[in-house]
């Protein structure tokens, strides 16, 4: 019956092998050789995974080494401000250089101005009708072919009621209806799961827009009230546009980027 730290206890009572340290050192020394042997031998998916893992390890190693080196490294001390009174001509020397800030703001402004009408995915592959719709054959002999079933994900509003079967030309299957989207805020670099309010524009066709089809590049309106975003006039923004960035019918979810 082992009680508690039995390994340590055993070591205390009986000691270790005389060559324990030596063996450990040797194992350590051999490790790189073993690794390289494996890396040269492995192929296929395992190689890919192994390389990824190794890459990560090496990156962290590099970082730690850099951290240890930090003491000897020379960095511009942005925060430091000289104590006491400083003559005016020296004020700008320390801290962040003003030119850099300026250039950054200019860049930012230009970007904003240009990005007013710019969307993350400017070019969208058009979706043809026969890809979008599946013909549903109706009638007792199944010889009528005027009904269509939408094969992509759609957004359907809460208060939607289906038409009578006789008049219902387009069917949007319930299994493919989406209510929420994972929206990324491009500046905050975070994503939120938000309710979809509506489909504003499907670039492929107005018909798709009306049906509420969600394909890659579609502009949707999402509910951002929880985020507490404020408009320029000071009101709390409720709905905001976002562009779908994935193929929802392939991924099973809607990913979008907020348009700001």
């Amino acid at each position: 019956m082992p009680q508690h730290e039995h390994m340590e206890r055993h070591r205390k009572l009986h000691g270790r092998r005389f060559d324990a340290e030596e063996r450990e050192r040797k194992r350590e020394a051999r490790l790189s050789h073993k690794r390289s042997e494996f890396a040269q031998k492995v192929h296929g998916l395992r190689a890919k995974l192994y390389n990824q893992k190794r890459f990560k390890e090496k990156a962290t190693m590099r970082k730690t080494i850099a951290m240890h080196n930090e003491r000897s490294n020379k960095h511009a001390n942005d925060e430091a401000v000289a104590d006491g009174a400083v003559p005016a001509y020296l004020l700008d020397r320390e801290g962040v250089s003003r030119a850099k800030v300026l250039s950054n703001t200019v860049k930012q402004k230009r970007k904003e101005k240009a990005g007013k009408w710019e969307v993350p995915i400017p070019k969208v592959k058009p979706v043809a009708d026969d890809e979008m719709f599946k013909v549903m054959r109706t009638g007792s002999k199944k010889n009528k072919a005027w009904k269509r079933v939408v094969t992509k994900c759609t957004f359907v509003g809460d208060n939607f009621t289906r038409k009578a079967p006789k008049y219902e030309r387009f069917i949007r299957p319930t299994g493919l209806r989406m209510k929420r989207a994972n929206v990324t805020h491009p500046e905050l670099k975070t994503s939120f799961q938000l309710d979809i309010l509506g489909v504003k524009k499907n670039p492929s066709s107005t018909l798709y827009t009306n049906l509420g089809v969600l394909t890659k590049g579609t502009i949707i309106e999402v509910n951002v009230s929880d985020l507490g975003l404020v408009t320029t006039s000071g009101k709390v923004a409720w709905g905001k546009m976002a562009q779908v960035t994935n193929n929802p019918e392939l991924d099973g979810c809607v990913n979008a980027v907020l348009l700001v």
Binding site: Q3, H4, K12, L250, G252
Partner: protein, 756 residues
């Protein structure tokens, strides 16, 4: 009663390991081949199965984890409190809760994605959805990295917790650090706890077991407790507090009177007072320890008073005992006292419950009234009484110690005792040697002179203990002759295992066999007597000469035969046996006379053989006979034409029919008529017979005009056969080296080189 064994919990894999386990299992256990050409329902099912299977595996794994870890509210409060101090209850619950949530999330993901796959219209779409589903499930698992690793640590620690049963008889050792708790533990149990001269050597609870009154007692060694408020106590102290609070046990509070532990007696008393609420409803023994360094009696008055006051404060179920681990004074008395107290209280508590009452109600004890005034005592033999008297005279105490030792290994005291005895026994040597003799002889009964007979066990200890000396069991063999007892019995004799030949009835069987042998011998001798006065079965001289000659001739014949080429057929064909071949050669071997002569010489009667040969010659071969029959038929017709009255030429072949009318020279008309009729009839019959019996020609001679042509054909056939005999012909199945264009040119996609 649940037994708390946390050792059976399965290891908790790390998050990345869990992902690997789940995905490889899916890959191994679900079908892996699907083609776009399959029916879409089949493709959908293929991918749905994968998603469902993954989800099942994950939830199976997580459920196992959740059921493995004990729920803190369900286990004994001692354990739940211990877990709280060791692992932090909130953290523990949170981790398990997160695992539970993860399981639900995985289920939800699987449900959603399977619903999506149902609308999949192509293999690609189904596959993408499956990929997304598996990815999302694995992501959920990866998020549980922290709680999984925490749970694994907890599992490892829990599995190493001592197997402590909260409900059994328990002695609990507590006190300040370094007062001698662990040393006492080592004294009374085999737990082998680490003892060091510094505080907090014992960092956790240790469990040992000891025996008292044929019962098993659990002894718990706790880490030292310092005297400060509960909130300030660290994890190590809290374990001791938990044990004190929740276990029903007898508590041994250790006090160091020598103050070597670094705490004054006053401090120790203060600690006692501060934790005294935990002693409620427990049997308490205040153990005054280290009296070897500081005898209790020599202690200052105030300090002694302090301790005695303390004991008084403890209440009615508190006692004080003195002890020293070094000199081992009072160790066993402390143990016995604590055990007794606990046992008594346990019995009391059991009796006081309703359960005991229900049993007691059913018990009734009757004392039979005396029938008469006669005293009926047990019969004790005279010798036993004498023995008892003698023993009491010698001194009862020694006897008692001896008795208690039976069934136990000897202690140091016992060994000393034995030595004394031997010294004592020095002046009584004759008696003692006599005693051993008695044992050696295997005789029963009481030793002469009233001495007790030594047991084999005692002898063993005298002669050096187990492994050195063992009793010789051969002394007790019960054999016909006692001298045989020490005879060496070989296991193998003459290369044979004796045990194989051992038979309990061997004597009886041997007797029977010997009887039979005698009988047979007698019979044989009787028969021999008869024969000697009758004929002799030996050959006389003449006969032996004849035999020799026969053998010689056989030998010659054999040699002759060998020389003639060793043909494997009769030396003489059957057809020519006994037939005369060459009349002019007198010495021809095949002449009947020669054969007869030769065989007669050998001693064989050849007449039958020759007769057979002659008969065959007369009959001639089959074909000839057939021809002759045809000829006879033709003759008969001719005769028919010639009509009756004409003299028959008595053909040899004519047979009996001719003979019938051989004497028909003077026959009547009616007879003639009848004769004719008969003939006609017979001719007709014969014809029909021949027809019905006629055989078709042999297949090989079909289409050949006559015999000569058949002969030619046979020759040609033979010639042809000779030519290809053993070689290959057109009928042989051959496969030549031969390139088939469509097999060997162009792209090779479907099929193999040989079949497509």
């Amino acid at each position: 009663m649940p037994v708390y064994n946390f050792k059976t919990m399965a290891p908790v894999p790390s998050a990345s390991d869990l992902v690997d386990i789940v995905l490889t299992r899916t890959q191994r256990k679900t079908p892996t081949v699907v083609h776009p050409g399959y029916k879409i329902t089949r493709i959908r099912n293929f991918y749905m199965r994968k998603i469902k299977f993954t989800q099942q595996t994950i939830s199976e794994r997580l459920t196992a984890m959740l059921s493995d870890f004990p729920r803190l509210s369900d286990i004994h409060p001692f354990y739940s409190d211990l877990c709280n101090t060791l692992y932090d209850r909130d953290h523990y619950k949170l981790a398990l809760g997160q695992i539970n949530t993860a399981r639900q999330l995985v289920d939800a993901v699987a449900r959603d994605m399977i619903r999506m796959v149902k609308y999949g219209d192509s293999l690609y779409r189904c596959k993408c959805l499956k990929r997304a589903a598996l990815g999302r499930m694995c992501t959920i698992l990866k998020r549980q990295k922290a709680s999984l690793s925490y749970l694994e640590e907890v599992r490892k620690h829990m599995s190493r917790l001592p197997a402590l049963d909260p409900n059994t008889r328990t002695l609990l050792l507590c006190g300040l650090p370094n007062v001698g708790k662990s040393s006492f533990m080592n004294k009374i149990t085999r737990a082998n706890v680490d003892v060091q001269p510094y505080a907090f050597t014992t960092k956790s609870l240790f469990v040992g077991h000891t025996d008292y009154r044929y019962l098993r007692w659990q002894v718990i060694d706790t880490p030292g407790i310092l005297d400060h408020p509960l909130e300030q106590r660290n994890t190590i102290e809290m374990q001791a507090i938990t044990a004190l609070a929740h276990l029903t046990c007898s508590v041994l509070y250790f006090m160091d009177v020598s103050e070597q532990c670094g705490f004054s007696i006053e401090q120790q008393c203060n600690l006692f007072r501060s934790i005294s609420p935990l002693f409620a409803n427990k049997q308490l023994v205040v153990v005054v320890n280290k009296i070897d360094a500081q005898p209790y009696e020599a202690l200052e008055k105030e300090k002694r008073d302090m301790i005695e006051r303390l004991v008084k404060e403890g209440g009615s179920n508190t006692t004080m005992l003195q002890m020293s681990n070094v000199s081992e004074v009072g160790v066993s008395s402390v143990k016995n006292h604590a055990c007794d107290k606990l046992l008594a209280s346990r019995v009391d508590s059991r009796v006081s419950t309703n359960k005991a009452e229900s049993v007691m109600n059913r018990l009734q004890v009757f004392y039979p009234t005396a029938r008469d005034g006669v005293k009926r005592e047990a019969f004790i033999p005279e010798s036993v009484l004498r023995e008892r008297e003698r023993a009491s005279a010698e001194g009862g105490e020694r006897k008692k110690t001896r008795k208690s030792r039976i069934g136990y290994a000897p202690t140091k005291d016992d060994v000393d005792d034995d030595d004394e005895e031997e010294e004592e026994g020095g002046d009584e040597t004759p008696a003692e040697s006599d005693d051993e003799m008695m044992v050696g002889n295997g005789g029963g009964g009481v030793g002469d002179g009233g001495r007790r007979k030594k047991t084999a066990r005692e002898l063993m200890w005298e002669n050096g203990g187990p492994g050195v000396w063992a009793p010789d069991y051969r002394e007790q063999y019960d054999l016909l002759d006692p001298e045989w007892r020490f005879d060496a019995i070989p296991q193998i004799l003459d290369g044979k295992n004796i045990a194989d030949y051992f038979d309990p009835d061997i004597e009886e069987k041997l007797r029977l066999l010997e009887e039979e042998e005698d009988r047979l011998q007698a019979e044989y001798e009787a028969a021999d007597m008869e024969r000697t006065d009758g004929d002799d079965d030996r050959l006389n001289e003449m006969e032996s000469a004849q035999v020799a000659e026969i053998r010689e001739r056989v030998k010659i014949a054999r040699a002759f035969k060998d020389r003639s080429g060793g043909r494997n057929r009769p030396a003489l064909p059957r057809e020519i046996r006994g037939r005369v071949k060459d009349c002019h050669d007198d010495d021809a071997k095949l002449k009947a006379d020669a054969i007869e002569r030769r065989l007669k010489k050998v001693g064989v009667d050849a007449s039958a053989m020759l007769e057979r040969g002659r008969k065959r010659e007369r009959e001639g071969p089959r074909e000839k006979r057939r021809q002759s029959r045809d000829a006879r038929g033709a003759d008969a017709e001719m005769e028919d034409v010639a009509a009756a009255g004409e003299e028959d030429d008595d053909d040899e072949d004519g047979g009996n029919s001719m003979k019938v009318d051989g004497d028909g020279r003077s026959r009547s008309k009616g007879a003639i008529k009848r004769h004719r009729k008969e003939r006609e009839e017979s001719a007709r019959r014969e014809q029909s017979m021949t027809r019905s019996h006629s055989r078709p020609r042999e297949p090989s001679q079909m289409g050949l005009k006559d015999e000569s042509m058949a002969k030619v054909a046979r020759m040609v056939e033979k010639k042809g056969q000779r030519k290809w005999f053993g070689g290959s012909g057109e009928g042989d199945h051959t496969k030549s080296v031969h390139l088939v264009k469509w097999c060997n040119t162009g792209k090779k996609r479907n099929g193999t080189h040989y079949s497509r």
